[in-house]
């Protein structure tokens, strides 16, 4: 067994996206022989064992401490562990797997567009029908805490195992709480979301279990993985700007840092050489404008990098800070 275990989704669109994400950072998944597709390794990171699990099993395993790291939906993590503090550390949102957990009611209810309307209707419903309005969902915890936050108490939850959006049409619930991306599935079932009924804007998260056994080799393996992911992320969001600066170099660099968030990667050894400056991709034109404003008229070129490794490893530093 390798010192660190990482759980990734074993099926669906999320599996592809997660594997692309690691491959993009040069750590592609390699299936382990004879493991029937349930285990893998990461290229170049021998100290990490990859387990392929369902997204909800990943959330469970992270909470119970059976794996060190995992990639899964934030909705599943927050549903299974309403208080993440002390149990789960969210290392990084990955920018895919977007889905909202939201309240949806029948389109037939043209008098309901907000949670306050739903509150009125719940209260009137309990009085008129002598039972509570039923909400079908698999997100019991998220629903309870959101409804409590919104001041709604006259309802009851009907636990749904699947196809929640069909519950109102089937007559097993009046409204639902479920994930939605485009709203098309809801609309196809005659449902609509509420203006202030979004419970969670979820996406795939790289998360760490705080209850797993974090011995020194596990920490070292996590540090190496996060250094690589961080370096790749930084390379993708930055460009390297090469330019010769005159004797006012320090003043120009200070202005670049202030106006474009740029930082020095390396200084030239001889006065006529070029500086290498790391600049956020979106601020590149601000950096050029800043250079010219400071009177620097030397030619500037830009360059893409595959990785930008720094002595700092912010992803690991934030994890190390919460590990006991």
């Amino acid at each position: 067994m390798a010192p660190l275990t990482l759980a990734v989704p074993s099926k669906g669109r999320l599996q592809e996206q997660v594997q692309e994400y690691f491959a993009d950072a040069g750590a592609g998944l390699k299936q382990s022989a004879g493991a029937r597709g349930y285990r893998a390794t990461l290229i170049g990171l021998a100290d990490i064992e990859v387990m392929l699990l369902s997204a909800s099993e990943i959330a469970t395993s992270l909470i119970s401490g059976d794996v060190h790291l995992g990639v899964t939906g934030e909705d599943l993590l927050r549903e299974q562990a309403p208080e993440l503090a002390g149990r789960i550390h969210l290392i990084k949102p990955l920018g895919f797997g977007f889905a909202n957990v939201a309240v949806a009611v029948p389109q037939y209810w043209i008098d309901v567009s907000t949670m306050a309307d739903l509150d009125d209707v719940c209260a009137a419903f309990a009085q008129k029908h002598r039972r509570r309005l039923r909400i079908a969902t698999k997100y019991l915890q998220l629903t309870r805490s959101f409804f409590a936050h919104m001041g709604i108490s006259d309802y009851r939850i009907v636990e749904s195992a699947g196809a929640t959006e069909g519950a109102p049409a089937a007559g097993t619930a009046e409204a639902i709480v479920d994930i939605t991306t485009t709203g098309a599935t809801l609309a196809a079932n005659g449902l609509k979301t509420l203006e202030d009924g979004t419970i969670l804007e979820s996406q795939a998260q790289l998360a760490a279990s705080l209850t797993a056994d974090w011995d020194a080799p596990a920490r070292a393996a996590a540090e190496a993985l996060l250094a690589r992911l961080g370096a790749r992320e930084r390379a993708k969001t930055s460009q390297i700007l090469r330019v010769r600066l005159d004797q006012h170099a320090d003043k120009i660099l200070a202005a670049l840092a202030k106006e474009a968030g740029a930082s020095v990667l390396s200084r030239p050894t001889d006065p006529t050489g070029e500086y290498a400056i790391l600049c956020p991709r979106q601020k590149l034109m601000d950096a050029i404008a800043s250079l010219r404003k400071q009177g620097c008229d030397a030619p500037a070129t830009t360059q893409d990098a595959d990785y930008v490794f720094d002595t700092a490893n912010p992803l690991y530093a934030s994890l190390a800070a919460v590990l006991r």
Binding site: E83, V105, P106, Q107, Y108, W109, I110, D111, V112, S113, T114, A116, D117, D119, D120, V121, A123, A124, F125, K128, H129, R130, R131, R132, L133, T143, R144, F147, A148, H149, M150, G151, S153, D154, Y155, R156, I157, P168, A169, G171, E174, A175, N189, G190, L191, E195
Partner: protein
């Protein structure tokens, strides 16, 4: 207290001794003891108490798939029994037994505890019933050997009467009454009603603003026809049309008058000894020209009754915000607080809950008021005071 309490001989003997003394005190006043089953069908709790109680209820499934629960309190099964028995009202019932509560996020609170209590059901003289139950709680605590406690009283009817006296749409009245005890949320609601942004429904109502009732109804019916294929969610077409028609009639007054908001906020901010709070409320209502005579007179009577029981008025506090975080209370509420080794501790509480019996199947609204005493906490407070 540990999550799973174990009672040794001295502890269980002391708890039983207290319970016997309290039940005897209740029996002397005409209360008959009942003992509902520990295991209950989950439905009556979940349908009546909502998700907040469900979150704290241990539920289980029997082998045939029926959902059961360990009773999270004894009031609901006692009231259900009172309704089902068909016995004439008023009924005076006492009880003593274990209740079970899941304590999410609070692993050091006990998951089971003893509760002794009394329910007075169907007494028409409401003021007399409230005083009877409050006095009974005081006397039961004394019978159990606890003499050092403070009282906290409130009355949801005060706020209800204030809102009823205000010139605001009926739905807003209902909404304000439903939420006044939720600190933070209520202020946000008040703010939204006073300044809030328009929602889809309000824009829809706004567009109906200039239409006659017949024209509005036709317009709403037209909209309903467009969504005729969507699931109805157990609400009839008429239910939805009626709600919109009511709102359309109120649409002219879609914002709450800031003057009204100020009166509400001032009332809710009143707290202190019950005597001084009463004076403040009188002043406030006089200035705002609102009559709250009945609930104020009832409060006055309760304070006199407490004085007659030998309770120092300085130990009786009132807060307008004080409504118990239990959804079935509808009027007078009270709590008794004492002190144990860990600090202030609530040893008893109770109040009026006039809608519960009807919700449990009674064919009309039945006046109900009751109290519950936390036996272990009483013992801890007695030990702290050196009396046990």
């Amino acid at each position: 207290m540990p999550a799973f309490p174990h009672y040794d001989t001295p502890a269980i003997d002391a708890l039983n001794g207290q319970a016997v003394a309290m039940l005897k005190c209740m029996a002397a006043r005409g209360y008959t003891r009942q003992e509902p089953s520990v295991l209950q069908p989950a439905d009556i709790f979940l349908d009546r108490s909502g998700e907040e109680i469900r979150r704290r209820t241990f539920t289980l499934t029997d082998p045939s798939g029926r959902e059961l629960c360990l009773r999270p309190d004894l009031t609901i099964p006692i009231c259900k029994m009172a309704v089902d028995s068909g016995a004439p009202f008023p009924q005076r019932i006492s009880y003593n037994g274990l209740a079970f509560r899941h304590q999410p996020n609070e692993p050091h609170r006990p998951t089971q505890f003893f509760q002794a209590g009394a329910e007075l059901l169907g007494l028409e003289d409401r003021a007399a019933g409230e005083i009877e139950i409050m006095s009974l709680a005081v006397e039961a605590l004394r019978a159990a050997g606890l003499n050092d406690f403070d009282l906290k009283v409130g009355d949801l009817a005060l706020f209800g009467a204030l809102v009823d006296a205000l010139d605001v749409p009926a739905q807003w009245r209902a909404r304000l009454k439903r939420h006044f005890w939720r600190a933070g949320y209520f202020e946000a609601l008040l703010n939204r009603l006073t300044h809030g942004a328009a929602t889809d429904t309000q824009r829809l109502l706004g567009s109906l603003g200039g239409l006659s009732a017949t024209e509005s109804r036709a317009a709403i019916e037209g909209l309903m026809d467009m969504v005729a294929d969507a699931p109805q969610g157990a609400r009839t077409r008429e239910e939805i049309v009626e709600r919109l028609m009511e709102q359309a009639a109120d649409a002219a007054a879609l914002r709450l008058d800031p003057k009204i908001t100020r009166v509400i906020t001032s009332l809710l901010n009143i707290s202190g000894t019950a005597q001084s709070a009463l004076g403040e409320i009188r002043m406030l209502t006089k200035n705002a020209r609102i009559k709250l005579d009945a609930p104020l007179a009832a409060m006055e009577q309760r304070l006199s009754a407490l004085k007659a029981l030998g309770i120092d008025p300085a130990r009786v506090s009132f807060a307008a915000r004080f409504g118990r975080n239990m959804e079935y209370y509808t009027g007078f509420v009270f709590e008794l607080w004492s002190q144990d080794a860990e600090g202030r501790v609530q040893v008893a509480g109770g109040g009026r809950y006039d809608t519960l019996l009807e919700a449990l199947g009674a064919n009309r609204a039945i006046s109900a008021v009751g109290c519950a005493i936390r036996t272990e906490r009483v013992l801890a407070a007695r030990r702290f005071a050196g009396g046990a």
